[in-house]
């Protein structure tokens, strides 16, 4: 087994008879973004809490850069919980500096770094405002800063985009990518599959306390691809369709003016060149691309299959 920067080994956690985590192992490469996926109640948050040493596993261990996690690692981890908030009656600047001090930063360094972040987000005027005066989105921004201020080597984001408008969600997304560029290892737990595809290098899918799928996003997509292609072309579509062999199956087609968009499924391992050749003979191909399943589809399929298996 390849040892990652974070190595979760055979974690078991039981709550009064039900297994929240059943022998879960994952490995997170240094400097990568790892997507932790799964339906609600799958055990993601439990796993994240175990990595954060908030909960202790019944068995198994977590290795942080090769060492079993201990209190010494706390300052090297940044955690943005799904259920998050701040002290409402406390001033923003004061509060973030306090939370950074809990992570082991000195007051002076924390203040300096925080000022830099406030300048970056252009929110300097918030420093002396009470948290309760900020909107939910503004508070989320502050919480994001709290998570990354102490420049941890490992960042764990649980639903980081919830509560953000698209513009701010994008800002956060860019920040996460920038952190990755700097070499930070990131674990991202989310239900937003679009962001998983955009950001994650590897994923693990957890369902009912078990890991049911893991690997590189690219590999997984290939594995679940169904040989479906989309062709955009002009010309005599009816003729194209009627002359197709039984190796092809048209799933759907749509005609807009002169241009037809058609989705086809290749039934067996036929080179895609043959398909293109068939179309170019009867018209003009404008676009051709493979339709890979979205992470969303894979998620729904795999979870659905597992549910059927367990019921059977």
């Amino acid at each position: 087994m390849c040892m990652g920067f974070i190595s979760v080994q055979n974690i078991v956690k039981e709550y009064s008879g039900t297994k929240a985590l059943d022998n879960v192992s994952i490995s997170v490469e240094a400097g990568s973004i790892f997507g932790l996926l799964g339906p609600n109640g799958a055990g993601k948050t439990t796993l994240i809490r175990i990595i954060n040493q908030i909960l202790a596993p019944d068995s198994g261990q977590i290795l942080f850069d090769g060492d079993p996690v201990s209190e010494a690692h706390i300052g090297r981890i940044g955690y943005l919980p799904e259920e998050r908030g701040l002290y409402k009656k406390m001033k923003v600047g004061e509060q973030v500096v306090y939370l950074a001090q809990l992570k082991g930063m000195s007051k002076a360094v924390a203040t300096e770094k925080l000022k830099a972040w406030f300048r970056k987000f252009e929110i300097e005027s918030w420093w002396d405002r009470n948290v309760e005066e900020l909107s939910k989105g503004m508070q989320q921004k502050v919480q994001f800063i709290v998570t990354v201020l102490h420049e941890p080597e490992l960042l764990i984001f649980d639903e980081p985009f919830s509560g953000f408008d698209p513009i701010n969600a994008n800002i956060i997304k860019q920040e996460i990518l920038a952190l990755k560029e700097k070499g930070t290892t990131i674990i991202l737990s989310t239900h937003t599959m679009a962001s998983v595809e955009e950001l994650c290098d590897n994923i693990a899918l957890i369902h009912k306390g078990r890991k049911i799928l893991d690997g590189q996003v690219f590999d997984i997509k290939q594995k679940y691809s169904s040989n479906t292609f989309e062709i955009k072309c002009s010309g005599w579509f009816d003729l194209m369709a009627s002359t197709l062999t039984h190796n092809y199956q048209i799933i759907e087609h749509q005609k807009e003016g002169d241009i037809t968009t058609v989705k086809l499924k290749l039934q067996s391992d036929i080179p895609t060149n043959d398909l293109i050749r068939h179309f170019t003979g009867l018209g003009n191909v404008i676009a051709f691309n493979e339709i890979l399943p979205s992470m969303n589809d894979i998620f729904i399929n795999v979870v659905g299959e597992t549910n059927q298996q367990t019921e059977a």
């Binding site: 009064s16 809490r49 954060n52 040493q53 908030i54 202790a56 019944d58 706390i74 981890i77 955690y79 919980p81 259920e83 998050r84 908030g85 701040l86 002290y87 409402k88 939370l99 809990l102 992570k103 919480q143 709290v146």
Partner: protein, 419 residues
């Protein structure tokens, strides 16, 4: 609140006294028309009430000139006063009740003396029969000394101390609970416990609020004492002059004060409280107050923290607060019983049960408690704190991350059993 609180306490002491003083400063001039002519010589003017003999003036003349004269009232004593029971006070306003009582008492006494003298009673004998009775309580200590016990003062101190400790424990204990609920409702708790252990957070919160409590207590003591002292110096500069000549001069002055305190009016009594404040063994009182506050607070704060962690909002705390408050309220209700018999078995057992001992002990301490009882009670209390803190920490650890679930007692027991 930390400043205003003690000022309020001091105000409770001072304002009534100050008002009384202010009230009594109004000098009342009373014109006396004594048709009998026998009472006027005996009516002695005092600081506040001045009697002026109007001589042969009639009531009609007095009425005509009254508004111009500046007198407060006219006291009319009829000719047949020795056989009658009525005198009259005339005024253009409602004469106050205190004055009426004062005059009635004065005339009653004078008439009594006059009547006795008329029946040829020896004036010396008359003086000798007026015997004020006082009860002196003396305690034999174990080393054979006789210690004078001023029960009244001790009762007052016991009551105040045990009430105060009840208020302090409840005030700061529930503050812990509110803090825990706030952190949970805010959802900041998970951010914090990713940096420090839940136990550290709980202990930190309890310790922090305890220090706030102690600071406030010290402030209360300092401000209350200095304000009361200041009031004593400025408002009542002279110690009260005894007005009753005590025939038994051998009795020491403390008892005298006591007798006066019981016999005289409230004003005198309040002055006496000022006097007695300095007779209390404050180091022992404050020392044990601080000790029992810290211990009682720690015991209850641990429970309050556990309750706070188990609920989702402050309004859900009711069902768990009940069992916490019951022993507190019981000990509060039992204060009177304890004070009536500070060495009785109820007092003893209440000061052994850790949930009631801080309050019970504070009620008993002014009366003196055997050392072994104090040691035993403190040991039980400290042991209970350790056990309670461990249980609370287990509930807290699980509770702060538990949302949206209605927690039952069975659930709490389950949490305690988690590894």
């Amino acid at each position: 609140m930390s400043i205003i609180g003690p000022l309020l306490i001091a105000a409770i002491f001072i304002v009534p006294l100050w008002l009384q003083k202010f009230e009594s400063k109004q000098i009342k001039n009373i014109a006396v028309i004594d048709e009998s002519g026998i009472l006027v010589p005996t009516l002695k003017s005092t600081e506040n009430v001045i009697f002026t003999d109007m001589g042969k003036m009639t009531l009609d003349e007095a009425q005509k000139e009254f508004s111009k004269s500046g007198y407060y009232a006219v006291l009319f004593i009829p000719k047949n006063i020795l056989n009658s029971t009525a005198v009259q006070i005339f005024s253009n306003r409602q004469p106050d009740f205190g004055l009426k009582q004062y005059i009635a008492k004065l005339i009653e006494k004078d008439l009594e003396t006059l009547k006795l003298l008329k029946s040829n009673v020896n004036p010396d004998l008359l003086k000798a029969v007026q015997t004020p009775i006082f009860v002196q309580t003396i305690k034999w200590t174990s080393d054979g000394r006789e210690v004078e016990v001023t029960m009244e003062m001790k009762t007052i101190i016991g009551t105040v101390a045990s009430m105060l400790i009840y208020i302090f424990i409840f005030l700061y204990g529930s503050q812990v609970m509110r803090g825990v609920v706030e952190e949970k409702v805010n959802r900041i708790v998970e951010i914090i416990i990713s940096s420090i252990r839940p136990l550290q957070l709980m202990v930190g919160k309890i310790t922090g609020i305890m220090l706030v409590g102690l600071t406030q207590f010290v402030l209360w003591i300092c401000i209350s004492f200095s304000v009361i002292w200041l009031a004593q110096v400025t408002l009542f500069p002279e110690p009260a002059v005894p007005t009753v000549t005590n025939p038994t001069a051998t009795i020491d002055s403390k008892v005298m004060e006591q007798v006066q305190a019981l016999g005289q009016d409230d004003y005198q009594y309040a002055l006496d409280i000022f006097g007695s404040v300095s007779n209390v063994n404050w180091p022992i009182m404050i020392g044990s107050f601080v000790f029992f506050f810290i211990c009682g607070y720690l015991l209850y704060a641990a429970m309050f923290a556990a309750v706070g962690s188990a609920v989702d909002s402050e309004s859900d705390t009711q069902q768990f607060i009940m069992p916490i408050t019951v022993p507190m309220v019981i000990s509060l209700l039992m204060i009177q019983v304890i004070l009536n018999n500070p060495d009785g078995s109820i007092a003893f057992w209440l000061s052994m049960i850790p949930f009631t001992s801080p309050i019970a002990m504070m009620a008993r301490i002014p009366f003196g408690v055997p050392i072994w009882e104090v040691v035993l009670s403190s040991s039980i209390l400290i042991a209970s704190i350790i056990i309670m803190a461990k249980l609370a920490a287990k509930i807290y650890r699980t509770g702060i991350l538990m949302y949206g679930k209605r927690i039952t007692y069975r659930e709490l027991v389950k949490w305690i059993r988690y590894r």
